[in-house]
């Protein structure tokens, strides 16, 4: 269960090599601006327009943002991150565009460059600002639009770009492809686990992630255990197992679509009725909310986060868990699964069933603070200070509960917590929900 910290540190070191691996994206400046504007034009609908119109520059969003709260630097103000989009809309699509064009400055390539650190390094699209805004402005969604615009303008930060380019061209992340998955599968099989791979028909298609294969191997093992124990007709597929979507993280739409489509094709191909997302934050909204719209029609299967699936099985009485020592823990809702996903009760039902005492942090459920390291920030070297700021705030939140351990269901969150814990020699545990379940299953787990 505890993560091998040497392995972790090695992993972190490898990430630092990423920027050198990124392919350059040289474009003439006017093309960059044109490309960004094309994205803005495509994405602006009545929903986003009403948001841009309603903002009164009150500054409440800053008070919700973990980076601003920790640093006091007004440049982290969430709505400020949308300024080029705001100007574009006013000048070219808004109600009095003809008038605004006279008094509002056009977007320049310099603006796009200046905004790169604001929408990448300084924002995890956690959505807390959207929820705090008195006018209901969905700032987080629009930071996503900003990323999409900057991606088309060739301005994805190098480290993130490297992984996006890899996933776009080779379909792998950090070199982890079908081969590496099979290595992990064979290791599990060697220990007596049945692991169905590439089944032609399966009711449940289980996804995994590079992080689970390289680092959080217990998470993969626990997932196998749960599926087998429940007698689920499940499979994992070597050509479509990666839940992480670096097209989504970087904002590069084509790669996002391609990665999602690979999974959709496989799921339809094997007749799956459910696709299970591993403990990975953004992977959930990528499939649960975005994939159908990219695909062009509703998906013929349900999408569930593993924490959601576990919770439902526990709540329906199908998954019995051994109650361990009653110790105080706190649950960190990953932003993309909680605030963006609607999954809150299920993980807590699991923790309850495990006999743990769940203590909520001062900011909890929809208003919990982001871990500070998500949305691809972990592969952006220049975002290191911000990731630390985020962790320091979460640390205070956790310690306020008196809990001995922090439980979460997202590998990205886990990375940031581990990095922070390593830095400050934190005395609290950092645990994974699925791994806790894996250790507490009451019954056979090796075979289905």
């Amino acid at each position: 269960m505890p993560v091998d910290m040497n392995l972790f540190r090695g992993f972190v070191e490898q990430i630092r090599q990423l920027p050198a691996m990124a392919q350059p994206t040289d474009m003439p400046d006017p093309d960059r601006v044109r490309a960004a504007k094309a994205v803005f034009a495509d994405k602006l609908d009545a929903r986003l327009a009403s948001h841009l119109d309603a903002c009164v520059h009150c500054g409440v969003c800053a008070e919700a943002c973990h980076y601003y709260v920790q640093s006091g630097d007004p440049r982290y103000t969430p709505i400020h991150k949308l300024e080029p989009l705001m100007r574009y809309w006013r000048r070219e699509k808004g109600p009095f565009a003809w008038l605004q064009r006279l008094i509002t400055r056009d977007i320049s390539e310099q603006d796009l460059e200046d905004w790169q650190p604001l929408v990448y390094d300084s924002c995890t699209e956690c959505g807390r600002c959207s929820f705090a805004c008195p006018q209901g402005v969905d700032i987080a969604s629009m930071v996503g639009v900003m990323r999409q615009a900057l991606a088309k303008a060739g301005l994805i930060p190098a480290g993130l770009r490297a992984v996006e380019q890899e996933q776009g061209s080779r379909g792998t992340v950090f070199g982890v492809g079908g081969e590496q998955l099979m290595e992990a599968v064979e290791a599990l099989r060697a220990r007596g686990y049945e692991v169905p791979v590439d089944k032609e028909q399966a009711e449940v298609l289980v996804l995994s992630s590079t992080l689970d294969i390289l680092l959080f191997t217990d998470a993969l093992e626990s997932t196998v255990k749960v599926m087998n124990h429940l007698g689920v007709d499940w499979s994992i597929h070597t050509c479509a197992f990666e839940g992480a979507n670096f097209g989504m993280l970087s904002g590069y739409e084509e790669v996002q679509e391609a990665a999602s489509e690979r999974i959709i094709r496989e799921a339809i191909g094997c007749g799956a009725r459910v696709v299970i997302i591993p403990e990975c934050g953004h992977a959930y909204p990528a499939m649960r909310w975005d994939a159908a719209n990219e695909h062009g029609e509703p998906l013929p299967f349900d999408v569930m986060a593993i924490s959601e699936f576990l919770g439902r099985e526990v709540m329906a009485g199908r998954l019995k868990l051994k109650s361990g020592q009653r110790r105080p823990v706190t649950y960190h809702d990953p932003c993309k699964i909680g605030r963006h996903g609607g999954v809150f009760d299920e993980p807590r039902a699991v923790l309850d069933a495990l006999g743990l005492e769940v203590r909520e942090m001062p900011a909890h459920h929809e208003m919990n603070y982001c871990c500070g390291g998500g949305a691809g920030l972990f592969v952006i070297d220049s975002a290191k200070k911000n990731r630390e700021l985020g962790f320091d705030l979460k640390r205070e939140q956790v310690e306020a509960t008196g809990a001995s351990s922090l439980v979460t269901a997202c590998g990205s969150c886990r990375l940031n917590f581990l990095a922070g814990a390593d830095r400050v020699h934190w005395d609290r545990g950092i645990e994974s929900l699925v791994e806790l379940v894996g250790e507490a299953i009451d019954g056979p787990v090796r075979a289905g």
Partner: protein
Amino acid sequence: MTLAELVDGPLWTVALSVFVAGVAWRLLVLIGTGWKRDLSHPRSGSLGGAIRGVVGRFLPRQGMAGRLRLHLVAGYLFHLGLFALLFFAAPHVDFYRDRLFGFGWTPLPHWAFVLAAEAAFLGLMLLWLNRVLNPVTRLISESGDHAASVLTFLVMLTGCLALARSHETLRLLHFFVVELFMIYFPFSRLMHSFSFLLSRAAQGAHYGRRGVRV
């Protein structure tokens, strides 16, 4: 034509027309920007989410109130005071009856009107001071934000100065500033008085669909 005839006559017509047409146009353009159909399976209803979004945002979110004391106190003092003044101050009720709707309603008693005015002024001054002194709003504010604050303040001030109802000049000054305000309104951030409904409803619907309590 004297200034008085201008302010009471054609300028009022122009201001009212620009206001009504401008607000309608702006809202239509917003709504007409197009809707994207969401093909994902909803977890919950959008309509419920939209309503909750509109109503729920009147209160700060869990854990936020401590950081928003100035915003909350000043914001509500101003908006509630202004609302009371605008719709229930005796001179305004008279105006609505005589010049707009043909019917009136019970106005506030004088002491309540004074209290509402004090609240509105205090709130607006606090809000504007926050805007210029808080580094966050100092960074993100534009000239339009300041213009809207100043213009609103002038409307309220000229109204206050004319309170004795003793001099035509003072009443005309107030009317004139109000007319400027109405003409400026549709082109400015003042539109938030209407667009907040659309924006809150849109966010409420979007996240409500995902089963999140907005």
